[in-house]
Symmetry: C2
Subunit: 319 residues, 2 copies
């Protein structure tokens, strides 16, 4: 079945407009930020084979496409407001669009984030979302604020998405509920929006883990002009991850990518507010190291011994 471009937008993506003064269907969407708030904007593009596998269910793909963008808002401590969707599809596939829009809009509803504009075209599958959030002026969590002495934390668990990828690649064997669990981590990540908002005024820096913990942490260190020591065996991991070899555990948790957890720093004096924010957001948080004045990233194992950093960061042009 083939539908024209306008019919497609109409059928699956037009909803009643709430927040926006004007929703899908005009040249632009119009909306105003609340008084005293800044707009936080991020845009991410998802390409088959790079950001998702052809085996993913359309509903999960819709979820993930928005989730990775909401994760950027979370890393800034911003509250989601709205998003635009640009979609290239090889053909106007109604079954795909039904599932995709269902997964996408379910996550959007969960975060009260409104679809305010769209563009569909024929081409190799490509999903591009721009997401808009609000954060009080001067209150955004940035990559540049980490201070020597700060504790380093990460939310949730790390590495399951990478473990699932290794199962698809045939490098790791997992079955049944174990595979289902890590596959869900890869295909339906949960953006840490509530945690990011709860950490406003507490965290000195934050970033979300999309390319792997070490690579993303390196951005924070560079932009903050600091270094860090990381306790590599302190990484939070799922029960499935904890059952893997230590080598796989380290590889997946440190350089896995696609985690969409938050790495953040906070002064030791704010350890209790950090725990309170985690409780409020119903999100686990683990201390994984410390920010230091000395540049560079030092890795230590459970015995405090130095470990060589031979973990690669994920680069969408290199790997």
């Amino acid at each position: 079945m083939s539908l024209g471009e306008f019919d497609l937008i109409q059928k699956f993506f037009t909803r009643s407009v709430k927040r926006a003064a004007l929703g899908v269907g005009d040249d632009c969407a119009l909306f105003a930020t609340s008084p005293g708030m800044q707009l936080a904007v991020s845009s991410d593009m998802l390409v088959e084979g790079r950001h998702f596998l052809s085996t993913v269910a359309p509903e999960r793909l819709g979820h993930k496409a928005l989730a990775v963008n909401l994760s950027d808002l979370a890393a800034c401590g911003a509250k989601p407001v709205a998003f635009t969707l640009a979609l290239a599809l090889p053909r106007a596939d109604e079954r795909f669009l039904e599932g995709f829009s269902r997964g996408l809009l379910a996550l959007a509803d969960l975060h009260d984030c409104e679809l305010i504009g769209g563009d569909t075209t024929q081409g190799p599958l490509n999903i591009c979302i721009a997401v808009f959030g609000e954060v009080p002026v001067g209150n955004a969590l940035l990559r540049s604020g980490a201070k020597p002495g700060d504790d380093l934390y990460v939310s949730g668990t790390l590495g399951d998405a990478r473990l699932a990828l290794e199962v698809f690649r045939g490098a790791v064997a997992l079955e049944g509920t174990s595979f289902d669990a890590v596959r869900s981590a890869m295909e339906t990540p949960q953006p840490r929006v509530a945690l990011g908002m709860a950490l406003r005024g507490i965290a000195t820096s934050a970033i979300d883990v999309s390319d792997g913990l070490l690579g993303d942490l390196a951005h924070v260190l560079r932009r903050s002009g600091v270094g860090a020591t990381l306790e590599i065996d302190a990484m939070p991991r799922s029960t499935v991850m904890a059952a893997q070899t230590v080598a796989w555990q380290r590889e997946c948790t440190l350089a896995g990518g696609d985690d969409y957890e938050l790495i953040f720093s906070a002064p030791p004096a704010l350890a209790e507010p950090v725990r309170a924010a985690a409780r409020e957001a119903q999100t686990g948080v683990t201390r994984i190291g410390r920010i230091e004045a000395q540049a560079g990233l030092r890795l230590i194992d459970r015995d405090g011994l130095a470990v060589e950093n031979r973990f690669g960061s994920f680069d969408h042009f290199r790997s």
Copy 2:
């Protein structure tokens, strides 16, 4: 030569930040709208073979990618503020990126529109831009405001981009400066930003011509709940277009697509303010018909005789 993702962003797209509180390089870009202003947001995706040919120079492609988005702001009467760029490239091609970023940023500078966020990835060439503009609350030009009795206008000239496409397709023969002129119309359209802003409070509706005059006008008529009569031989055309057969002239001006001119409506009583707006914006404007209460679009020729509407609109899934 191969550069990593972060190096690429750094090298070609990082500039000193002006308006935005935070530019390229954090999880989100942050900015605030001015008091009393609404944000106008649009997002367009460009795919090779659909929106541009493989023969286009990277610099012109960079121009066009932003131009089509600025054209959406123009159609709302919004002043450009900022944009994000998501780019999928088959490989990290420095020569391409140098030209692309030069064309893109030159047009951005011309409209004082700041690049505030980026995402690059490996994949089939795909360019996705989200653009942000400002318009005083309640002052945006919408598709829904056309009233019976309004005059219908279009800016600039129509059809040259389509004529250039037909040359590439081999259906039309053009050479030398004639071909250069229509090729420039196709590859480096000039978004009518100044005209859109000048028409605030004057035009009752507006849309930009991306899919062809008849198709885009149909959106205005449907959303405004009106009809129109169009004088099909009154379409403004370049000297190159005027030298073509009447059949090609009609096809290209009415259903060409890729024009990025503005169609707008205004009451006859505001004909002089329309002309003043056109002068202020240094953009030609031509009256091409009239809005009517009777639904549907009626075409008449230079003698006032009805012409059958057998012109197809461009649909990115159908053509």
